[in-house]
């Protein structure tokens, strides 16, 4: 009887391709852009940003023939204030995971080495997600198809992009009452759904998906990192604040909004958004914003351009490219910058001169007494065969001139996004 493959299985080699392919993104485009801006070292005392918020003086005509010139006044100064919020990315592994992969003869990559290398990327990716929320910590709003174990984010402007697999999520009602916490076990970016475990009883449409550590997930409470929708906001509700200013009292600190009213992008909208900046702070302002948007809106812009393409074809057979270079687009003079984490319905005009960060603790390992990696403890009080390390950051964002910020929102989203 012939020798079969089963009899030689013990001789066969297994091949492991030495390069690991990553099947998800670690985009941190916007946070990286902000991170490179001027960083102010701050203590835990409030950082002040002095602002000249209104002109003064008393203009009038007067009677030069012995008339009374009257009294005068002067400009008003005030301050925006901020303090850091603290965020961490916690990475934990067992010793067996470490020992099983700590040599080139054991594994194609050292688990711990890869964890420490990718942890920074993951932290920045999370921070980029946080830059897309309005200070409330809300990173999703449940849609109609939500169940106790699946969060439907098809109607949420950022889809499932702000949530990462393995992340602890808190579920609040739309009235900000806590339902419970759970862990994202699967994030389906394409379907815009997040599967969670354990089930959250009562989770339903309009519920808020909130970053762990936030206790009051409201715009008014503003416990989280101040993302783009916090600063780029023309909200005028009394009792909601921008860096200490009541949005209801100070129109000077409201950003410029262009409401697209669920209509697709048209050419006048970006021009209007830019002009609103000039209308607020003068035609000679030096702001040169970038137009940040989801590639969906870049596509909408491209489609406008494609309508104007004229093909004059001769007898030859030229190549065809009906598309524009996405890396070289401008919108009313503002270079187009794209991020898949961005709201699909917004275009934000972000001036680099305006944005900044206060920082009490730079991004790095949580360190105590020189140690960066800490052992876990077992129930007995002895050391457990598992380690943990933390990447930590204490920072908060600010803009030094909200009148220099402008945005278009409520845009219609091209089909397929």
């Amino acid at each position: 009887m012939a020798l079969t493959e089963a009899q030689v299985t013990a001789l066969e080699l297994e091949r492991v391709i030495p390069k690991i392919r990553t099947l998800f993104d670690r985009d941190d485009k916007f946070f990286s852009a902000i991170q490179k801006r001027d960083v102010e070292k701050i203590s835990n005392r409030q950082m002040r940003i002095p602002l000249e918020i209104s002109p003064g003086g008393a203009f009038q005509y007067f009677d030069a023939n012995g008339g009374d010139l009257g009294r005068g006044g002067g400009p008003t100064f005030d301050k925006a204030v901020l303090t850091s919020v603290f965020m961490s990315e916690n990475i934990e592994y067992t010793k067996l995971a470490q020992w099983a992969t700590d040599d080139a003869r054991k594994a194609i990559v050292s688990t711990v080495r890869r964890l420490t290398a990718t942890a920074f990327d993951e932290m920045r990716r999370q921070l980029d997600s946080q830059m897309m929320q309005d200070g409330s910590g809300v990173i999703g709003i449940a849609g109609a198809a939500t169940t106790t174990t699946v969060i439907d984010l098809t109607t949420f402007e950022n889809g499932a992009r702000l949530i990462r697999t393995g992340q602890t999520l808190q579920i609040f009602t739309s009235a900000a009452a806590l339902r419970g916490s759970t862990v994202a076990t699967t994030v389906d970016v394409e379907a815009k759904t997040v599967t969670v475990s354990p089930a959250v009883v009562g989770m339903t449409s309009t519920d808020l998906v909130v970053t762990n550590g936030i206790t009051t997930p409201t715009f008014a409470a503003a416990q989280a990192l101040f993302g783009v929708p916090y600063h780029h906001n023309n909200g005028s509700t009394p009792g909601t604040f921008w860096l200490g200013f009541d949005r209801g009292t100070f129109p000077q600190i409201r950003a410029n909004r262009v409401n697209a009213a669920s209509v697709a992008l048209t050419l006048p909208l970006p021009r209007l958004a830019i002009n609103k900046i000039g209308n607020r702070i003068g035609i000679d302002n030096n702001f040169s914003p970038d137009a940040w948007m989801h590639p969906a809106q870049q596509q909408a812009y491209e489609e406008i351009g494609q309508l104007a393409i004229i093909i004059q074809k001769g007898a030859n057979a030229p190549g065809l490219n009906q598309y524009f270079n996405g890396n070289n687009m401008q919108m009313a003079g503002a270079p187009v910058r794209t991020s898949f984490n961005w709201s699909t319905k917004r275009i934000d005009f972000v001036s680099k001169e305006v944005w900044g960060r206060g920082e009490i603790l730079p991004l790095g390992f949580y360190t105590t007494d020189g140690r960066k990696i800490f052992e876990l403890r077992g129930a007995s009080g002895g050391v457990a065969t598992a380690d943990i390390f933390y990447l930590v950051l204490g920072t908060q964002t600010f803009v030094n001139n909200p009148a220099g910020c402008s945005y278009i929102d409520a845009l219609a989203v091209p089909s397929g996004y």
């Binding site: 067992t94 602890t168 808190q170 806590l178 419970g180 916490s181 759970t182 862990v183 354990p198 089930a199 959250v200 009883v201 762990n212 550590g213 206790t215 876990l376 077992g378 129930a379 457990a384 598992a386």
Partner: protein
């Protein structure tokens, strides 16, 4: 599978970032992951899967029916539950049984 690394999740003292109490659908076997567990549904629980291997205590609120537990699995003691107050279960790793406390 017991996961002793997560023993703090069933500690009686926890902080705000630890998992919030979980509501489990009542079934013949349930597997609590937090100290405080709520039940939904009317199926009587016969077996509780221990979340850790050593002695520990679990608090379970039977949300729907007072006939929430039976002794046909690894539960011994009183089986009548309260639908608003927790029943406490002490795990004995020698007998591998949960003893319902007399309260």
């Amino acid at each position: 599978m017991a996961d002793d690394l997560n023993f703090q999740q069933i500690s009686t003292v926890q902080d705000g970032k630890q998992p919030k109490p979980v509501t489990l659908t009542a079934a013949a076997t349930i597997a609590p992951t937090t100290f405080l567990t709520r039940l939904s549904g009317t199926t009587a629980v016969a077996t509780i899967t221990p979340p850790v291997t050593g002695s520990h205590m679990l608090a379970i609120v039977a949300g729907t029916t007072t006939a929430a537990f039976t002794t046909s699995g690894n539960i011994v003691g009183i089986t009548t539950a309260d639908t608003t107050a927790p029943s406490l279960f002490i795990y004995d790793p020698i007998t591998a049984k949960y003893m319902r406390t007399v309260v």
